[in-house]
Symmetry: C2
Subunit: 461 residues, 2 copies
């Protein structure tokens, strides 16, 4: 049956593109309250499109931008079909600076085998691959192989503030899904499709040091009392050793070494460190000794200062001995590291490093564990097979250095693992002018999605 | 002759106070352009008062507030009298917050043996001690014992921006002075008058670190490239050892240990470290191991971070890997340390500490050597004897931790040492509401000034 579905998908290439152009024409910019009517229109469009594929589809209002929530009704899928949750978002980044766009951001235009528009890759274009695949299944097979719940939000680009509430209020409906499928990432490189199975976690702190009760003259008082800016540099400067390793006792205790086979796979990826360094504007990369840059980003924990504030920051010289110094400090965590265990070790170590005459205040501003969907899990196996069918290439199993909040929420609120299956390319200009999606990727994405639901039905049984 | 002068000073106590009250009534607030007429009036008042003491006196206009410049004409001083330069300022700090003043800041009021007004101690009250003494010498002896140049500026509270220009344009007239006398400091404590003979110098740097060309996502890129905020903490954190000593190679090489007799004198001063810590709002003091807090402020070099800036400094968490981090860093230098030698050592050491993948930029924002007027110099000996005469107590020879720009300028532009002879007390509320001068200090200050010119004439011959 998948064969017929794929043939029909191939036959209707032009109408998929026309439909996507319609959706991309709505300036659904979540950051701009004036665009609320366009947000509604883009949500409505998706709701009706899902109805066209036979799903029961409606809007879930929130304090700002609604979610689209759709499910396969009884009869549209086999009674014993496994339950899959598809997540995506229909809102887009603001298009500014407008003068840098070759064609207008909300007038989708095809040039050189690519469709250019805001949202072409992030994320309407990738979500639409699924919508097209579902439409094709409905049209040809009169059923969709899995029991499917589709959740599309309209606030991803502004921090998904209302999504956890929607997940919570629909938890009964969502939590018995087997897995979450998300197409909001990219392939590793042209011809190298990727499945993202792991994300790093995070623990984020505000570190406040107080010395004297007020700022003092650094001449009159310098040397007599502890300077919190000096203390901050000393304490934070002590958190790495000369080999770039974090010195917090126990920091690496629970870190799992990555499977050698996976490391070999990563080493073979088309990734050039010198070229990467050049693209970032640095002479050379730097990090934990003994690991490649990809390993350091994907499977090694880190500690980074995200912000520093103290004393006088304006132009010229001011001889102030500051009374306050503060830093934002975050640690990226890898699978098997417990954020709260690391938090305790971090706090304890800073207390040890603190010089006399300084008050230390610590505030946790965020904590989430790393996420890992095992490569040998049935959902990842199905996704890999679907990619082979859709892209005619083996996928690589990569990881992502950042946390993705929705992945964390699906895990924490529903207990669900996510599989990240990106159809775009690294040069899609996300959040930048001239965002695009290659038409090859688009059509291969539809084929992959069509195969995915068939394979998930078989693997998850 | 001094005896008679002192007797006449004693007899005219009320008129000195009345004259001071007149001068204090002008709101000569240099920071406020709307007060320019009051600035002019206060300058005129001093000019005419000096004429009353027989000096040739005029205003030197500047781009903002004029200087008062006065000299003893031929005949007013002995032909072979040594030349002394008296510096002071007639401008004052803004009086705000007004609601905290018990009596209005420009309605001088005597309560409990103190005169309350803005400028009572800083600096009109102290300058007036000299004006009164000169008046008494003229009245009783018909001469002033030294050849005197008086330079009063009107921009001390706003950074003395035009003073170096005035010094330069009058260098011929000023540079053959033997010494500069400044009464713009305070006694060490009630009953413990002080002569300040040493000031620390300064070298001030802006340290800029650049990593990648733009800020990056700390999840996606964290661990792959050097983070300039991490690097800054590591580099600056490495500038002190566990005993609070600066680790820059050679930093202490030229530091002179203080004369044991002077250290004994300082140890005997009424200075309680625990009380000092409490007044600053800290549990305990902190600094270079092996030295008292007074020693650390007066005769030990220091390194202080005056400002830190990097990445995200707003509320909440932002997972940014900053591309820039910068710090303001200054070092207080002591006599015999060469600022440029220290500068070179500092720059060289930071280059050594810099991790790979980071660009280091260094900008010198100021440099001045420490100042030291030897205790056994004739001018200091004269000042000490004058204090004994005026305050009936032995002065202590203290130092000041900060640099005083005018002292640096007199040294650099004219080659002149300064003797700082303060008549006020540490609790005079300088720059704060209810500024005051104890009348005891005021009258003892006039007596000291009267004796000083007599003794300088003898000692400097």
């Amino acid at each position: 049956m998948l064969e017929s579905v794929l043939v029909w998908i191939e036959k209707n290439k032009h109408s998929w593109l026309d439909d996507l152009k319609q959706w991309l024409s709505f300036p659904s910019i979540s950051a701009d309250p004036a665009r609320h009517p366009d947000i509604s229109a883009a949500a409505d469009w998706a709701m009706y499109y899902l109805r066209g594929a036979g799903l029961e589809s409606s809007l879930v209002p929130t304090a700002r931008c609604p979610c689209v929530l759709a499910t396969t009704p009884d009869g549209l899928c086999p009674a014993d079909a496994p339950h899959v949750l598809l997540y995506g978002h229909y809102d887009v980044q603001p298009p500014e600076p407008l003068e840098k766009w070759i064609s207008p951001p909300f007038s989708p235009t095809v040039r050189e085998g690519k469709i250019f528009a805001r949202g072409a890759s992030d994320d309407k274009g990738q979500v639409f691959c699924h919508l097209a695949a579902l439409t094709a299944w409905k049209q040809i097979a009169h059923e969709i192989p899995v029991r499917l719940t589709v959740l599309l939000e309209g606030e991803e680009e502004i921090g998904s503030v209302n999504l956890p509430g929607v997940i919570r209020s629909h938890a009964d409906q969502l939590k018995n899904a087997h897995v979450v499928i998300i197409s909001d990432s990219s392939q590793f490189a042209p011809g190298v499709p990727a499945i993202t199975c792991g994300l790093r976690g995070l623990i984020y702190y505000l570190v406040n040091l107080q010395g004297t009760k007020e700022d003092l003259h650094s001449g009159v008082y310098g040397g007599a009392v502890a300077n919190p800016a000096n203390a901050l540099a000393q304490m934070l400067g002590g958190l790495h050793d000369a080999r770039g390793r974090v010195t917090i006792p126990g920091f690496y205790d629970d870190v799992l070494e990555v499977d050698p086979e996976l490391r070999r796979q990563w080493a073979a990826l088309p990734f050039d460190e010198a070229q990467f360094a050049e693209s970032l504007g640095v002479e050379k990369l730097y990090g934990e000794y003994g690991y490649s840059a990809l390993q350091r980003r994907w499977c090694r924990p880190t500690l980074d200062i995200n912000g520093l504030t103290s004393g006088y920051q304006g132009p010229g010289a001011k001889t102030v001995l500051p009374c306050l110094a503060s830093a934002k400090v975050s640690m990226r965590l890898v699978p098997n590291q417990d954020p709260q265990k690391i938090a305790i070790a971090f706090e304890e170590y800073l207390r040890q490093l603190k010089p006399p005459g300084i008050k230390l205040g610590l505030q946790q501003l965020g904590a989430s564990p790393a996420a890992l969907t095992p490569i040998d899990s049935p959902a990842v196996a199905a996704a890999a097979e679907a990619v082979r069918e859709g892209f005619l290439a083996d996928p690589v199993f990569v990881r992502e250095g950042g946390s993705i909040p929705v992945v964390t929420w699906f895990k924490e609120l529903l207990g669900l693992d996510s599989v990240l299956l990106g159809f775009g390319l690294p040069d899609d200009n996300l959040h930048a002018p001239n965002e695009k999606l290659d038409l090859d990727c688009f059509y291969n994405g539809i084929r992959t999605a069509a195969a995915l639901y068939d394979l998930l039905a078989k693997r998850l049984k």
